[in-house]
Symmetry: C4
Subunit: 239 residues, 4 copies
Amino acid sequence: MTALVRRRLLAEFTGTGLLVAVIVGSGIAATRLTSDDALRLLISSVVTALALAVLIVVFSQTGGAHFNPAVTAADWILGRRGPRRHSLGQAVAVVGCQVAGAIGGAALAEAMFAQPVLRTSQHHRGGAPILLSEVVATAGLLFVIVTLARTGRPQHVAWAVGAWIGAAYWFTASTSFANPAVTIGRAFTSTYAGIAPASVPAFIAAQVIGGTVGTLLAVALYPIRHTPAPAGQSAQLAG
Amino acid sequence: MTALVRRRLLAEFTGTGLLVAVIVGSGIAATRLTSDDALRLLISSVVTALALAVLIVVFSQTGGAHFNPAVTAADWILGRRGPRRHSLGQAVAVVGCQVAGAIGGAALAEAMFAQPVLRTSQHHRGGAPILLSEVVATAGLLFVIVTLARTGRPQHVAWAVGAWIGAAYWFTASTSFANPAVTIGRAFTSTYAGIAPASVPAFIAAQVIGGTVGTLLAVALYPIRHTPAPAGQSAQLAG
Amino acid sequence: MTALVRRRLLAEFTGTGLLVAVIVGSGIAATRLTSDDALRLLISSVVTALALAVLIVVFSQTGGAHFNPAVTAADWILGRRGPRRHSLGQAVAVVGCQVAGAIGGAALAEAMFAQPVLRTSQHHRGGAPILLSEVVATAGLLFVIVTLARTGRPQHVAWAVGAWIGAAYWFTASTSFANPAVTIGRAFTSTYAGIAPASVPAFIAAQVIGGTVGTLLAVALYPIRHTPAPAGQSAQLAG
Amino acid sequence: MTALVRRRLLAEFTGTGLLVAVIVGSGIAATRLTSDDALRLLISSVVTALALAVLIVVFSQTGGAHFNPAVTAADWILGRRGPRRHSLGQAVAVVGCQVAGAIGGAALAEAMFAQPVLRTSQHHRGGAPILLSEVVATAGLLFVIVTLARTGRPQHVAWAVGAWIGAAYWFTASTSFANPAVTIGRAFTSTYAGIAPASVPAFIAAQVIGGTVGTLLAVALYPIRHTPAPAGQSAQLAG
């Protein structure tokens, strides 16, 4: 394992961990401070959006800043024939670090808020509308990421992913997990952000379907890959 | 129909659909979680602004990311003599996809939230102040889009349109529909974001007037079109 | 009067008018929808910040996008010997258009919300702490604008001014008017955003003092003017 | 002392002062206007994030815009052998100006809100979870700053630091002071943002530990320093 790969794994572990710490921690804080359910979710969504954008920016130059097995899978599949392809073994190791980081992040948030650490959630989530929500949220997320990569505009990924997830907290009925590693990590907290372990497999299945749909849509709309465009020409709307 | 046109139509259908899904879905979620009307509208406005910016960025390179017949009409009229002109038939097809997408997006949001699908709204909206609001909101929207196109700064369209619409939710009395396709889509939901079908024609008329005013103002202020400027010179304020 | 000057005056009239319409309109809407005073002000501050950033971007290329006599005065004084200097007569005309636009914007908002138009405010504001707040808010605003101009980074003006004013709604006790034209416009509304005409002169005096302090601080910190820097080198923090 | 150093010290004094004025002032305003604790903290966090981003942008070209002894320390240690190194004496003077500014900023906010000036806080904060929170918040802050410096992307520092601190208000249990100078300044206010002087030393110790952890992590992940990259290539995510 080269130093570059070690750094990438460290980045995925740390970044996914901080992401889950943000989700779990802000949920605990918001629950403590207000009884208004909408204000709680508004706080969680805004805080997650801000932190996710920062985390992507600061970890992006280690080779990814995926923090999400669905993204790593799409990256591996689409990149197989490109100059930046990685081995399947590395992709699996990345996913392992994401899951470990997610669980560690839940524990970190609970320690900061003096909560019992890694007690599994009793919050059952599921049913067709909720799972459809996960499909939509994950499809959108992968569509955003793959599109920006294929159209040569990686500098937009950080804020666009943050904004998409922040919005998807609200316009889906599942509050948009959209991430198998984060879903597993959130199974290990009995706080606001938790999900019962029994609900996890269906969530992950919906995320896999959604990720596939979003990736295929991006490839259909942008069949040719572009390299990063010169500055000042990133979007186009004539009038 | 070329592959490029097919991709553009798919983008307009999908993007307008997701936009309406965001508006309708976040309205349902906010209504369920709080009884504070201002918090409900704050959530809808912030979520719409974030999602709209993302949707414009990710669909912009298919030839538009208009999601709005008023924008498509202005683009077609102003672009008639330019190198990027489209046929009237293509513009009409784009508008058709926007309307179909808007209705589909309402249905998608309702399915995610386990609501009756495509039940028409009973929420009557209208009267001179409300219609004046639609004129102002749509005029501002078109002014923003046409100005940024004519001054060669397309990279600002996504966030500026999101911010304008997010603000217009509040400073107009109509909560700023500003989009005939979205207005039609919202007629097909009996939830928070709905508008009674009988109210739709006056809204669209006001939007057409507003779009015309905004486009003319942009042309008056910026009579000469510029190509995209080099980075770092996009705004000017001396001091 | 050249066409360029006419366009600049139209831009200052329209832009200042929309800014005041945003402030007054969002205040009316927030007051109607909630009884929580903090939520009302949060909405006003966020909406003003978003709209101000957009308005600066779309009107900036007409020669200013000042919307504020304090900014126009600083621009005229600092620009006297530069290549982009304007006549005193033009500066006075700009200020006249700002004030007329501000009053028109208040009327527009009231018409959209079916309120009595241009009824003067009974809301007295003043006292040393409030006036100190206006000094601080205006000093900060001018410092931001003059600094970004002198350090060759005009592309940051729009978001930075929006963010500064949005924050100053909260960390000052006056909710940060920071603008003589907007202050006059807000005297002509009896709604949430109003200020009694008798309170206006002291506000403007405080704004003049603040604008002078902020401008002098910017000149002291950045004695040499820079032209716009190449992209990617706009901020500096070593580590 | 050269003119450049004098300007840097003035910038650190003024910038840190305004930062604390924002934190203390927005806390007073939010406390007055609502009884909802979550809304109070949401307002404080959003306002601090916006103002911090602006302050970094406008003071950054004086040689730092640190406003934080932890950042100045990391900058001094990491920059010892580089071309932009400063003397230890200058670093100490910078920290002195930060602390003086922080106290002055608390006084300024209290004067604007007609509160007793510089009355020390009775608000005890501490305990292992709170101190762990300070370690995490400061580690993240230094990681963000040092990473962006080492990867040649200083243009992202302003918004990323604002977003990180805004998020850390919520996902840590201490509301994220993450700054020894600001902590000292907040000991001098008996308002919402205050911290009892007896609680300060442990907070600063936690911040020193966190700052060290964050700096080391950044150096481990990015062992080689890069100069600023050309525009449009700042982030990378393949797909």
